[in-house]
């Protein structure tokens, strides 16, 4: 959205969301925290998956590291929450740099599987660490202020979206897109592909880790299987892909839409909820693989033929 009108609308929406604690009820607040964190994860994934084209299945590693950073700092060393957040952030970014150097050399499927392997191995390692409470996990002190968590989550989402917005206009961002479209070509044109990829990975990890930190304090109890959850990975990817990878607002929209539907189902229809998710994924991938953002852009031109067109291009 390039126009000033777009910026004004966005600012208005953010203000509206920030004021929620005063006009909404507790349910909306808690749902809000959940959705805002998920949207942050989707947006964070967007940096490495949407813009750079490296579909990471291991962002849950950084989420977990952020969560454990806060948990360990607060429970083992009695440090305040913001110190824990810094620790979580540091863990996530450092690991992203190290692991990134190792696995960003791989392409396509292999990169995806390598990051998936990272997620599993992190779960296995942390469940053996005494300081992390092994597989039992850690219990954090109780803070009865959901408003704080809500505003923090909202602030984080705004921050990551602004970062992605900046990416969409900066040379760095263009370099990432170049890597996505044609990595060899980008290298020939002088883009330092390794540096750019690792930086993108670290940026993605930073926001994911911070989201994990907020989550840990909010939920007061974390264990390896809960925060390094592989299906969380898939969720954030689906939301980003559903909304439109490589766009600025796509992942946020995707996260909001899918979360709302999923939550409503999980609390009203209950058992059908999990199958619903599966069906949505299948339909979305077949009919609108480029996400809502792309759909919105092109629907105006091609109308209902948009869906059939997608199918025809991609099917055997």
């Amino acid at each position: 959205m390039k126009s000033t009108a777009g910026i004004v609308v966005s600012a208005f929406v953010v203000a509206l969301l920030a004021a929620l604690p005063w006009y909404g009820n507790t349910v909306m607040l808690q749902f809000g925290i959940s959705v805002l964190l998920l949207a942050t994860l989707a947006q964070g994934w967007n940096i490495i998956g949407g813009y750079t084209g490296y579909a990471s299945f291991g962002n849950s590693v950084f989420y977990g590291l952020g969560a454990y950073g806060v948990a360990i700092a607060m429970t083992q060393f009695n440090l305040p929450f913001w110190v824990g957040m810094l620790l979580g952030l540091a863990l996530a970014v450092v690991f992203a740099a190290l692991l990134g150097l190792a696995v960003l050399r791989l392409r396509g499927h292999y990169f995806a599987i390598a990051t998936l392997g990272l997620a599993f191995i992190m779960t296995a390692i942390v469940s053996n660490l005494e300081i992390a409470g092994r597989n039992i996990g850690l219990v954090l002190p109780l803070l009865k202020s959901d408003v704080l968590f809500y505003e923090l989550a909202l602030g984080l989402l705004v921050l990551v979206t602004l970062t992605v917005f900046w990416l969409s206009r900066s040379r760095f961002g263009l370099g990432l897109v170049a890597i996505r479209e044609n990595e060899e070509g980008a290298a020939v044109m002088g883009v330092n592909t390794t540096l750019y990829k690792v930086l993108a990975f670290m940026l993605s990890a930073a926001f994911t880790g911070l989201a994990g930190g907020i989550y840990a304090y909010y939920i007061t109890f974390i264990d390896p299987v809960g925060v390094f959850d592989v299906s969380l990975n898939v969720k954030m990817i689906i939301m980003a892909v559903f909304g439109g990878p490589g766009s600025v607002l796509g992942p946020v929209v995707g996260a909001f839409v899918l979360s709302t539907i999923s939550e409503v189902l999980a609390t009203k229809v209950t058992s059908f909820a999990s199958m619903f998710f599966g069906i949505v994924i299948v339909i979305a991938v077949v009919f609108m693989p480029r996400g809502i953002a792309h759909l919105v852009e092109n629907f105006r031109r091609t109308g209902w033929r948009y869906f059939a067109g997608n199918v025809r291009t991609h099917r055997l």
Binding site: T26, R134, I136, V139, T220, F221, S274
Partner: protein
């Protein structure tokens, strides 16, 4: 337009009237997902108990007789969803009180919601020490302490002749089983038994061949396993196929449950376990008569035999009803205080909570003999004969 308005007013009035006459419980239970086969015990328990209590007139709140309603959600064996559901039950569905989920790690996360909102939760699904060492005031549990699970088994071992000397202790790495192992180590030391293997394994492990080989080469007389049903099932089958035959093996789960015994068939015979509850006629209850009648009615209604999970779930509901009646109100604070003081007999046994909120019940050692669960040892005496030593696999 007018019609819609009238309908709205009518609905509002109806809900107000209904609300004034019901006490609502909320629960998020695993109805789907990997632990659903135990989760459903709790749904059935809550439903059954509430149905029976309502049929007898409901709960007496001060001077009015009120019915009990239940709002139950499926958390799909996902802890994060479970937490959100408990929040929703409190803030959106406005339930009065909370009943717990199955499994200690779920209780650990979900109980924080109850504590944060200052609403009492009585749960029959988690026994690990962590639940009760946080200083929470609103959480009560009807499962006895994890550290004592093998208590009666070890007492029984001391009275055998010839007494076993060596023990292998295996435990999964989750909260409950680690608590069991910690407590068991103390008990083993006191009993003077030598531990030849003390090993933690990953939850959901499916291959026990290495552990079994080590048990065999370490010549353990007795094997104690604290784990989950799927692991115990794999353990027993692999013990058979590797020809590992300790003189006795005892498990914290599986043995009391019907579908576990059915899956193993004849291979289940000889396995020992424990339960804090048996359907005996000595446990008298205001609504169910006694535990044996309860078990029969349960089987008739649901088609499977209840075990201690089911009884613990029923106990949770009864504890609430008792507390509400004693408090004479549905005010969360008053009911919480009443819960801390309850003391009555029920189909589950005597219900009273210690100052940390946990019930205290002795475990009864049981063994599967001829496809049936037989109580073996409780307190200081043998109730029935224990099959010991177990014949080696090829001679069964």
């Amino acid at each position: 337009m007018m019609l819609r308005f009238l309908f709205f007013v009518a609905a509002l009035a109806a809900s107000a009237v209904a609300g004034a006459q019901t006490v609502t419980f909320g629960a998020s239970v695993q109805l789907t997902g990997p632990v659903a086969n135990t989760g459903r015990y709790y749904k059935d328990a809550y439903d059954f108990a509430i149905e029976k209590i309502n049929a007898a007139g409901g709960v007496k709140v001060g001077s009015t007789q009120q019915k009990i309603a239940l709002k139950l959600l499926d958390n799909q064996s996902d802890v994060n969803l479970s937490v959100r559901q408990y929040s929703q039950l409190l803030s959106q569905d406005k339930v009065n009180f909370l009943l717990g989920p199955f499994a200690s790690n779920f209780v650990l996360a979900d109980s924080s919601i109850a504590e944060k909102s200052s609403v009492p939760m009585v749960q029959g699904g988690g026994a690990s020490d962590e639940i009760y060492t946080r200083g929470y005031k609103y959480i009560f549990g009807t499962l006895p302490a994890a550290s004592d699970y093998f208590g009666s088994t070890i007492d029984a071992l001391a009275k055998l002749n010839p007494a076993p000397k060596t023990v292998a202790l295996l435990y999964a790495d989750d909260s409950f089983d680690v608590s069991v192992a910690k407590g068991t180590r103390e008990l083993l030391k006191k009993a003077g038994l030598t531990t030849v293997l003390d090993e933690r394994y990953s939850t959901n492990a499916s291959d026990f061949s290495v552990l079994l080989s080590r048990i065999k080469s370490g010549n353990a007389d007795v094997v104690l396993v604290a784990g989950h049903e799927t692991e115990v099932l794999n353990f027993i089958r692999q013990a058979k196929s590797l020809g590992v035959s300790p003189k006795l093996y005892s498990f914290t789960v599986g043995v009391p449950s019907a579908d576990f015994r059915q899956a193993l068939g004849k291979d289940a015979n000889g396995a020992s376990g424990m339960t804090a509850w048996l359907p005996s006629t000595s446990l008298k209850d205001q609504w169910f008569g006694d535990a044996e009648a309860f078990a029969k009615a349960w089987k008739a209604k649901f088609g499977y035999d209840p075990d201690y999970h089911a009884a613990a779930g029923v106990a949770a509901v009864e504890a609430f009803v008792n507390a509400i009646q004693n408090a004479g109100s549905t005010d969360p604070q008053k009911v919480r205080d009443a819960l801390a003081k309850v003391s009555f007999d029920s189909v589950y046994g005597h219900i009273a909570f210690n100052d940390k909120g946990q019930i205290s019940l002795p475990q009864i050692m049981i063994q599967i003999q001829d496809d049936k669960v037989v109580p073996i040892f409780a307190g200081k005496d043998f109730i029935n004969k224990l099959v010991y030593p177990l014949p080696p696999w090829d001679k069964r």
